[in-house]
Symmetry: D2
């Protein structure tokens, strides 16, 4: 298991499970987004505040490998690392593990950028600074 | 504010907010369901285990008064009381409060029953016993 | 079966079903909201446009009776009537039926109002006019 | 624009939009899943029926490039092609376009397999046959 710069513990909720009795694939993206936003908040960046200022942080690419499904009652944790990908892109490496035995659940890479008020790709300097300082 | 037999603390996640910047109405039902299932678990009743045995706990009526909207970043808690409504129905009284100032967010009443393997209304005796013991 | 002023046909999607193999309760609120917004659009009122102008149409109370569950593969339709409840409130009566046999699925009453830029209850005059003209 | 073996038209629903006023990233996975299940149904394969027989069709990897966001009121269509990836894996190539101008919204590749009653990777022969016959 890798080292992670940020971790968040969560718990499966029954309404997130589908007719197969396991967490629906799309829900993992919710888990990942929530973890990224909590991580950003932890380094002083408020996603909602940016959205209100019409600066939108957006995902441009996502890759997820599904290793093992979570089911009702499972506790899990999300590990996160980040790294600059280019002048205007950041990569988030986010993996999910079942808490009871640290069994890998998913491995994901998410590439994100920012869009300014005019809808053009652009990252606010203070965001770049915070993320770079944190880079793992 | 009333007394509650069971309480659960939660937190708004950004993906639960809609274009008005507030938690979407339907999401409160998710919060309420999750709280009921956690409550049931706390008294020894596992919703998913019942579902696997083809005994389905189902909601037959829901009433929700929306008092004040939650938004991104809000912490909140759900208070729950329950009371027998009839031989085969239970009522759950569930209210949500914003944690920072205990401002009322919603007040809800949910009527639930059970359906046995044949799809007929029926409550497992151990469920009735546990809920009655807990009745507020 | 009642007469309805507005009808919308929809179809259950598998991701809307939960571990019981039926549509999750909260999802019906999504169906009802989508139908209201489509209805409003049909009489010239765009929910999203209002939201952008900071005039928010909001639900203040919801009552739903769950009669029979929809499941994977089901087609269904939502019937809608509306009526003025007070100077600043409208009631929407929305029922869902399974299409194959018109079996009642849910019966719902939703009370809605508007909030102006200052967050005070208020209905734009053109909205009142359109809804009143339509009143069933 | 490519040729697609299967197409499905859909429409953005307001509850699918987030505080940025655009469709939330995770929702596209719902769109893609619904399209795959409709496609499978069109070639005689019922996802829910398989699930009831404890044969689970599961996604093992997903790659999505987000090109342009859908927003409230947008109509869109999903194009789908499929190809065998290995003895037990199939790839689905699914792209979403905004209907008004065929602007590309997302491009996705989804790798799926089947799990038999024992949870082991395995594709039912009739599924392989149907998908291979359809292969683009």
């Amino acid at each position: 298991m890798e080292e992670y710069s940020y971790k968040l513990e969560m718990q499966v909720r029954d309404y997130e499970c589908d007719m197969q009795g396991i967490v629906n694939n799309a829900v993992y993206q919710n888990y990942l987004e929530h973890t990224r936003h909590e991580f950003l908040k932890s380094i002083g960046i408020d996603f909602a505040e940016y959205a209100r200022k019409n600066i939108n942080l957006v995902v441009v690419r996502i890759e997820i490998d599904f290793k093992f499904p979570l089911k009702s009652g499972d506790d899990f944790w999300v590990g996160l690392n980040c790294a600059k990908e280019s002048r205007i892109k950041f990569g988030f490496f986010q993996d999910i593990y079942r808490s009871s035995d640290n069994k890998p659940v998913i491995r994901a890479k998410i590439i994100a950028t920012g869009l300014n008020e005019k809808g053009l790709p652009s990252l606010p300097p203070e965001l770049v600074e915070s993320l770079t300082a944190f880079e793992s």
